[in-house]
Amino acid sequence: MRKKIIRGKPHIYGDNIDTDIIIPGKYTKTLDLNTLAEHVLEDLDPHFRNRVEKGDILVAGDNFGCGSSREQAPLALKTAGVSAVVAKSFARIFFRNAINVGLPVLEVPHSHIEAGDELAIDLVEGTLTNVAQGKIFYAAGMPGVMVDILREGGLVHYLKKHGDYRLG
């Protein structure tokens, strides 16, 4: 991994955070990633954009990123400064998109994370540590090809380097 340990403070949300709420469709038609970041999560939490600091971690419940295939959703979060998304489960397309744009995602059965806690994610070991509470959570494993794509910083870098997909 480019960065083995990610440390940050959590922003905690619930289940079924859909891609329309992450970045509404009316803002998606642009190549300017800063425009996406300006509106990220605005219909769920109008204060998120001002509160989020570089390196912060988004913590969610089940089915994070359900809905449309818009890659603008992980791009908006990443550009806003989010360093990783931790959820109990993810919608399939969002999970792939996040890895492809180099936004680390961790599917992990976490509990009792509170605002103000400090979190540490070890992408190699696949663990989430709540430093403040001294608790450790273990993530579901990812396919090797996904680990490789994330290690390269996303699919663009992976394919630029390898020119093709490689298994094992």
Partner: protein
Amino acid sequence: MGQTIIEKIISRHAGRDVHKDEIVIAHVDGVMATDTTAPLAIKAFREMGGERIWSSDKCFLVIDHAAPAPNEGIANLHKMMREFALEQGCTLFESGEGICHQLIMEKGIVRPGHLFVGADSHTCTYGALGAFGTGVGSTELGGILLTGKIWLRVPNTVKIELKGTVPSGVQAKDIILYVLGRIGIAGATYQAIEFCGEAIAGLSLAGRMVMANMAVEMGAKAGFVHHEGLRLPYRFRPIAPDRDAFYHQTVTMDLSRMTPMVSLPHSPQNAVPVDEVEGEKIHCGFIGTCTNGRLEDLNAAAIVLKDRKVHRNVRLLIAPASRQIFLAALRDGTVEILTKAGGIFLPCSCGPCVGTHNGVLGDDEIAISTANRNFKGRMGNPRAKVFLASPTTVAASAIEGKIVNPLSYA
């Protein structure tokens, strides 16, 4: 061990027999991207070092999500797509030709047994004719433009068996909303769905597309409708699962006592019988989208609206899913009936479904739509509410200015 439909299709494209949970690299038969996703895909393709796409015959770009362009920013994205299509020699469907999934199906581009990847979540619609269609994001699509391949985890399959004879007046949209309410918005995450049973064997291709289209609303990677009763305008070899195929789960539902359904704001899984919300005032009705913008949908609305008027407090927006459908609706008198009733015809495109233009809602306004999603803010305003329903329920509600059971108009 036998194979499910998706295991068979992926096997053919991976060059070996595969089963659930295997990780494979598969060749694709075609790719599609829209004006929401193509610009970022083109950018990713270039950044990967791409110069020529792997096959100009298998790449389709569609300007449909904000078509024609509502502002200069989007106009420039459309221009970028046109220039890329010209440079690469691939097909571009222009503003007004129709919605991506309708065009890929109606032009015979996707065929039974194909593996087709689209940068749009509703690419699962192609399961209506037995193709593995699946949605991806832009960078993933850029990777396919470069290599012609995609890596996949072979998904588990959940079989949804729909029994009984569906009561008269209940449409495919009602069925899928009912199923979605039972399965839930994450009930088939990472899985393929196979829909089967007597309740859907009589569905038209359009009805099958409604079922497959909304598989992703349950989190599914693909949604197949079993081929019994499938009719296509060309000769084809149907794809069927083996008798000893392994299903992760089989869910059986009896539809013989179903009534028309609606999904309440702000999630498609909030499905209830329409009677439960009868009387809810509406300001906008929308008939269209990749779910319900086909000729039989417009015809169904016209049966309800013939010689009647849309309520004065309601805008009824209608966007045929393709120019071919619009022309057919012109020829058979449907367009005249709907226009006389007060309906507003929009370009053959996604229309207001994605909240960019063509009928954005005001604060506290309520719409009833034939679309597939009603997440908060979906139609452009987070302070508005969207109900999902069939074309007949939308048409009947537009007449009354409130949500009504359409069976009284049958």
